[in-house]
């Protein structure tokens, strides 16, 4: 009888505990220069990149990742979405945008010590921040458009000793212990099951992110980091005391317990030896207009030289 009672109590406690346990999803999002729309002023005269001329945007694949997290939240009770972004103080806008679209909260990982980090040093810093949150699932975009390396996700998974599934296109199902998802390969698709904790990288062909929610935008438009408010010379202590949900917390290297030697340039095994701006040497080319006789002439020449036909 006692035995039965204890078993019952144990199960009850376990159930209650589970009920109370939040399922935490970390979404990694990066602010990137919009390299897809590079204008004429993107390069300075000395051949270096004019970062100021490129608008800063939410990395496209990371928006797909956020949508995956939001869909999981819809399917699973008691799920919290925490966005983590690493970048300069102005990258706080990425966290704000994530919250407008449905994320619960976010942290900005920002420190001058991170400057010059390659993918390995970046994955180290991010993995330290993620350890602090201790999530059940990490979702990130496959790759960022400023580098296209697709490395940071798998590098984090390795550091956290987690399984990874890359090129994710669709969540098929999710329960307490595992999820089933489909990934996009070069020549087809593959459906896999995986337990938690785990890391996913989401392919750009996954479902597009839902738009900004107007109600959430009204509620959170004044969400700021401390440094943003300092810059505007506003006293933030009262604002944050009154509305704690408006505080986007900033973490530096020390806050996440990251060793300085593993960060920035010194923590990056890859070095840039040389950067060349692309100068095109003009090839001798024949010019034509779209007039009928010009196109005829072109086709004639191609046929005569046996390039076609």
């Amino acid at each position: 009888m006692y035995c039965f009672f204890y078993t019952f109590a144990a199960v009850l406690i376990k159930t209650l505990k589970k009920y109370d346990m939040k399922f935490k999803i970390v979404v990694l999002a990066k602010q990137v220069p919009d390299t897809r729309n590079v204008g004429k002023d993107a390069m300075k005269e000395d051949g270096t990149v004019n970062r100021g001329a490129l608008p800063a945007i939410y990395n496209p694949d990371d928006l797909n990742a956020l949508e995956v997290a939001l869909q999981i939240k819809e399917k699973r009770n008691n799920t919290e979405i925490i966005v983590v972004s690493m970048g300069p103080p102005r990258a706080a806008s990425i966290i704000r945008e994530s919250i407008f679209r449905g994320a619960d909260k976010g942290y900005l990982l920002t420190d001058r010590k991170f400057a010059g980090s390659d993918t390995l040093a970046t994955s180290y810093a991010l993995s330290k921040a993620i350890e602090k949150i201790n999530p059940d699932l990490i979702v990130c975009g496959l790759q960022a458009i400023d580098g296209d390396t697709a490395q940071v996700g798998p590098q984090i998974a390795e550091k956290l000793h987690m399984p990874q599934v890359t090129y994710v296109e669709k969540i098929e199902s999710i329960d307490d212990k595992k999820m089933v998802l489909t990934r996009r390969l070069e020549r087809g698709v593959e459906t896999v099951t995986l337990p938690f904790p785990a890391l996913l990288t989401v392919h750009g062909s996954a479902c597009a992110c839902r738009p900004i929610n107007a109600k959430r935008m009204l509620k959170y438009k004044h969400a700021h980091t401390t440094s943003e408010l300092q810059e505007q010379n506003r006293d933030y202590t009262d604002i944050f005391k009154e509305h704690p949900y408006l505080h986007i917390e900033e973490w530096n290297a020390e806050n996440v317990g990251a060793e300085e030697a593993k960060l920035g340039l010194s923590g990056s095994p890859t070095k840039v030896k040389e950067i060349e701006s692309v100068v095109l040497t003009q090839k001798e080319s024949k010019r034509f207009t779209e007039k009928d006789q010009d196109v005829d002439q072109l086709m004639k020449e191609l046929l005569e030289t046996r390039v076609i036909g």
Partner: protein, 339 residues
């Protein structure tokens, strides 16, 4: 020790992937330059035919694991085996195909070994480096060359301190150059006892793999559309011309991203690299990433409304005009002249 390793990807047909054979060809040249050996890592199942293929690439050792667990590719098992092998063998250079397998595996290995990895290289060259600040000289480093930052710059990346120097390369970037058989490679079996139950926690429940549909690399004539094509519907005219000329249709990344054509047709640094007899660039401005994938074409025609489009600079023929007018005229003109 100090050798060059190529992770050889195994295809659905249990053959070595083209990209891996291309890397072995490049690896052989780099090995000659460094005076070291070339070694291959092959993990999969039913590998008899694959091993046959590998006889002609000047490989000294093949590290082999032939077991049904290892195919289809699953991250944790392959990562465990490759990581352990690299820890033991201490390669100087390790090369991976920039495929959904290589891009999944290589960063995991680099992270575990805390070494540098450069993605999507378009050039691999041996060279020296002097660090002025540290007053250090480095001999025979691997220069990993790749376009960066929207293609406005070409960066040369090096890993002075860490080994292996790791890089991924897209299919078609390096030339496939088999050699005459000298000595057959020695096959060394990899110990599968290394795989623990926790390496098998991801299970594949279903796969749907299609036969390769588009053969961009094999096409003699390629007609490629860019963002300037304007829409998916406008791409139809490219297919029409392609059928007439016996050509294949490709697209730039911008065109693929905009949904004008499928991913399998993407040409460029993050797509396929091609070297056709004739390349017709339609509404393509010509970012360096795109040019990296096609600038070795024998003849290039650029059809563009802009005189300033960078693609014009590498074209043999430039037609300034609206692609939607020029292509129908080309079709007409071709039909007329062929009769």
């Amino acid at each position: 020790m100090k050798n060059i390793f190529v992770y050889c990807e195994v295809t659905e047909e249990h053959r070595i992937a083209d990209v891996s054979l291309e890397l072995l060809s490049k690896g052989r040249k780099l090995a000659d330059e460094l005076g070291v050996d070339l070694e291959a890592v092959v993990l999969g199942v039913k590998l008899e035919k694959a091993l046959e293929q590998l006889r002609f690439f000047g490989i000294s050792v093949i590290h082999l694991a032939d077991h049904e667990k290892l195919f289809p590719y699953r991250t944790l098992m392959h990562a465990k085996l490759v990581k352990t092998l690299f820890e033991k063998e201490q390669p100087e250079i390790a090369l991976f195909g920039a495929t959904s397998v290589g891009r999944d595996l290589a960063p995991r290995i680099a992270s575990a070994l805390r070494c540098g990895l450069t993605a999507d290289c378009t050039g691999l060259v041996i060279g020296d480096h002097t660090d002025e600040r540290k007053k250090m000289n480095y001999k025979n480093l691997l220069y990993q060359i790749r376009p960066a930052f929207g293609g406005n710059i070409i960066a040369t990346i090096i890993n002075p301190e860490t080994r292996p120097q790791m890089a991924t390369v897209r299919e078609g970037v390096m030339k496939l150059e088999p050699q005459t058989l000298k000595n057959a490679p020695v096959v060394k079996e990899i110990d599968l006892q290394l795989i623990r139950p926790e390496d098998e926690i991801i299970t594949i429940v279903h796969r749907h793999i299609e036969p390769p549909k588009v053969n961009l690399k094999g096409a003699q004539i390629l007609i490629a559309g860019g963002y300037g094509m304007g829409s998916k519907e406008n791409f139809a005219i490219l297919y029409e011309l392609a059928e007439l000329l016996g050509a294949e249709v490709g697209g730039t990344r911008a065109a693929v991203d905009a949904g004008f054509c499928g991913h399998e047709r993407q040409i460029g640094q993050t797509g396929v690299t091609v070297r056709p007899k004739l390349y017709i660039a339609c509404g393509i401005s010509g970012a360096v990433q795109h040019r990296a994938g096609m600038d070795q074409s024998a003849k290039i025609i650029s059809i563009n409304t802009s005189h300033q489009a960078p693609i014009n600079a590498i074209a043999d023929y430039v037609v300034i005009g609206d692609v939607m007018k020029v292509i129908p005229k080309m079709i007409q003109s071709y039909k007329k002249q062929i009769n």
